[in-house]
């Protein structure tokens, strides 16, 4: 069974996530992850042994535990040995690997999961260790300060103002009131938010994501297997990821050409395609939503982060996978026929992944086998 592009059809057939919290400190990583794995497998009726390929995303630096992903593998029943892979990245990239695996015909089903216990360390400091070790690492520039440089660039360029940023924060956290998995929900109005002191000028506390412990899991399946496992598969009609220069001083921080290119390659702008009804954007900082809206050409017809987005819960390494899961869930529930999900990695939106999810019959040509 192939899609119009001559590619195998692959869909998200199940998604589960933790109730995200500031510190899951009574649980080890595998203990935090396991209920999510159970939930996502149970909803498809598949046993762990029936999954053809398993791919996970996590980062040992978050909790300071070497090879922690091998412990997490206990939760999927990895013995006797299963076909398995791991990326030291957000689970969205693990999902990309699993998608490719299914496209090649090597697998019919895949389990993707990711998790992070950021609470174990000082996250903004831990994230300095992902930077260039020659020119940036020795200065220990924390992630909040780097995001603030990007926000300042946007303000100076007239691309946004502090009121709009506060509006993004308020809208996101109000939307999270309907999301039982969110860590933060509800927000004072924009005027009240703007009275608060700066955290890292020009960012105020509301512009910054919470520190979150959490996990997420997705099951992918091909063609008729997907149709058998769920009533309404969320077909991945396209997915791509692109990266920009590492040095923030080389990039135009007010734009995201990598997001634009990934979206183009994922088919988001295909002629005749309707605009997405929903966009789940991995914009941990308010100003980054402004950059992504522009790159993805989103207008008011698209609901951005109806889940609350990463401003409501930001489990590092899972937050991007959650975006794909949330977008897919909207399609599967019949609330959207076309949705776009985005995931990011690195400082100031350095690397970006875009996935387009569609219900049956939502594509440009309108028909599927």
């Amino acid at each position: 069974m192939t899609s119009r592009a001559g590619r195998r059809e692959v869909a998200v057939v199940a998604f589960a996530q933790t109730e995200h919290v500031r510190a899951a400190d009574n649980l080890s990583e595998v203990e935090m992850l396991m209920p999510v794995l159970r939930e996502v497998l149970d909803s498809t009726g598949l046993a762990a042994g029936q999954i053809d390929f398993t791919c996970s995303g996590s980062c040992d630096y978050l909790a300071g535990r070497a090879f922690s992903f091998t412990m997490a593998l206990d939760g999927v029943g990895a013995w006797p040995p299963i076909s398995e892979s791991h990326v030291e990245m957000d689970g969205a990239w693990a999902l990309h690997e699993a998608w490719v695996k299914i496209l090649t015909g090597e697998a019919e089903t895949a389990l993707v999961y990711s998790y992070g216990e950021s609470s174990a360390g000082d996250l903004p400091e831990v994230l300095t260790r992902q930077l260039d070790p020659y020119y940036l690492g020795p200065l220990w520039p924390d992630s909040v300060s780097l995001a603030a440089l990007q926000a300042r660039a946007l303000l100076d360029a007239g691309e946004t103002d502090e009121r709009e940023l506060a509006g993004i924060a308020a809208r996101s956290r109000k939307a999270a009131e309907d999301n039982p998995h969110a860590q933060l929900s509800g927000s004072p109005g924009v005027d009240t938010l703007l009275e608060s002191d700066y955290l890292a000028r020009p960012l105020r506390p509301h512009d910054v994501p919470p520190v979150t412990d959490g996990a997420a899991a997705v099951v992918l399946a091909a063609g008729d297997t997907a149709r058998r496992l769920t009533r309404r598969p969320a077909w991945i009609s396209g997915m791509d990821h692109r990266i920009e220069a590492h040095s923030p001083g080389v990039r135009d921080l007010t734009d995201s050409p990598s997001t634009r290119l990934a979206a183009e390659r994922a088919g988001l702008f295909d002629a005749g395609s309707p605009p997405p009804e929903v966009a789940e954007l991995h914009a941990p900082f308010t100003a980054q939503e402004v950059v992504l809206r522009k790159a993805l050409r989103l207008d008011r017809s698209t609901a951005v982060n109806p889940s609350g987005g990463p401003l409501a819960a930001n489990p590092v390494m899972a937050a991007g996978l959650v975006r794909i899961g949330e977008a897919a869930a909207r399609v599967s529930r019949g609330e959207a026929r076309r949705a776009v999900a985005h995931a990011t990695s690195g400082p100031c939106l350095q690397q970006n992944l875009v996935a387009v999810l569609e219900s049956d019959g939502a594509g440009a040509e309108g028909e599927r086998p």
């Binding site: 933790t18 206990d74 029943g77 260790r129 220990w140 780097l146 040095s247």
Partner: protein, 321 residues
């Protein structure tokens, strides 16, 4: 979370330190050596731009870059943010601005700190700044102590070709890093550690395959399900396999040779490690029955010694090898 907390959570500080020794490419070496000599070098990219800090490869085409140029020590702030609470390792101890600075003659910006004693009101994009050199310079990005405000006019400084050759060039850096964590072992290991304080060994049984894991990690890796049921195992057990250690470990006050063994505690579904004593090393054998020996205040058994029981039959432990 999906389950209620069951126990007082154990936690302990965990410090991870890793001094990475990194070698430098020719462009990085010239740039960092130049900083030591108060000279700022950039590199010409294939599109004609001057990259500062310079890279070994072109950010667009990935071509190897080698044409070095010298740029100014003054520049213009292209964006900034205010840091009220400097963290460990950051360039200044008092509040400062992070800045991206485009040095005169460069086309890209360098990240560093700006010392702005008058506070954020005195900082703006477009302001002129100059390098404040560190007193002791070794060939590192921190040879620039920080930037400071400068009243020069935007100069028309043109990047000048530079051979990039210095006496005694820097060829590597040591990147020291320290991260502080709070380690929490989770519920299964907390129960295990709590039980050890009363000299009991707690395993957890898989509800599906019934294997008892010691120490428990909270999940059965074969079935992929939580192991909720606690089972006390031992204290006695059987040596399943062993080795004779002939090399004295640093800081360990044990005479060699000694025996280190896999011991299957009675009731456990897998073996754990322990030292065997109270028997000559060359008489230890597979199937030997042993029991733990605790020392005053010990948080785990110091070693295991023979119980004097007859050896266990191979059939009883062959699955635990």
């Amino acid at each position: 979370m999906n389950a209620a907390p069951s126990h007082k959570v154990l936690s302990a500080p965990l410090v991870v330190e890793f001094p990475f020794t990194r070698s430098l490419g020719p462009v990085q070496s010239a740039f960092l050596t130049g900083l030591r000599e108060r000279t700022v070098l950039g590199v010409k990219a294939s599109d004609g731009r001057t990259l500062v800090p310079p890279t070994e490869y072109d950010p667009v085409t990935a071509e190897e870059l080698r044409d070095l140029v010298e740029v100014g020590r003054t520049g213009t702030v292209t964006t900034w943010s205010w840091n009220d609470r400097p963290r460990r390792g950051q360039p200044l101890r008092h509040p400062f601005a992070w800045v991206l600075v485009r040095l005169d003659g460069a086309d890209t910006a360098l990240l560093h700190a700006l010392d702005a004693p008058e506070g954020p009101q005195a900082v703006n994009t477009g302001m002129r700044v100059r390098i404040r050199w560190a007193e002791h310079r070794s060939g590192a990005i921190t040879d620039i102590a920080c930037f400071e405000p400068d009243d020069s006019v935007p100069s028309t400084h043109r990047a000048q070709p530079h051979p990039g050759e210095f006496a005694d060039p820097v060829t590597g850096i040591v990147a020291e890093a320290r991260l502080d964590y709070t380690y929490t072992p989770g519920r299964a290991q907390t129960r295990y550690l709590d039980a050890l304080t009363t000299r009991r060994t707690l395993g957890e049984r898989c509800p599906r395959c019934h294997k008892v894991y010691v120490p428990p990690r909270g999940a059965c890796p074969t079935c992929g399900v939580p192991t909720g049921e606690q089972v006390e195992v031992g204290p006695r057990g059987t040596v399943t396999t062993f080795c004779v250690v002939n090399i004295k470990a640093k800081g360990l006050d044990i005479e060699v040779p000694y025996v280190y063994a896999h011991i299957a505690l009675d009731g456990a579904g897998l073996a754990l490690h322990g030292r065997i004593a109270g028997i000559p090393y060359d008489q230890v054998r597979m199937g030997l029955r042993v029991e733990p020996v605790w020392t005053e205040g010990g948080r785990y058994p110091d070693h295991y010694r023979p119980t004097g029981e007859p050896d266990a039959d191979y059939e009883t432990y062959k699955e635990l090898l």
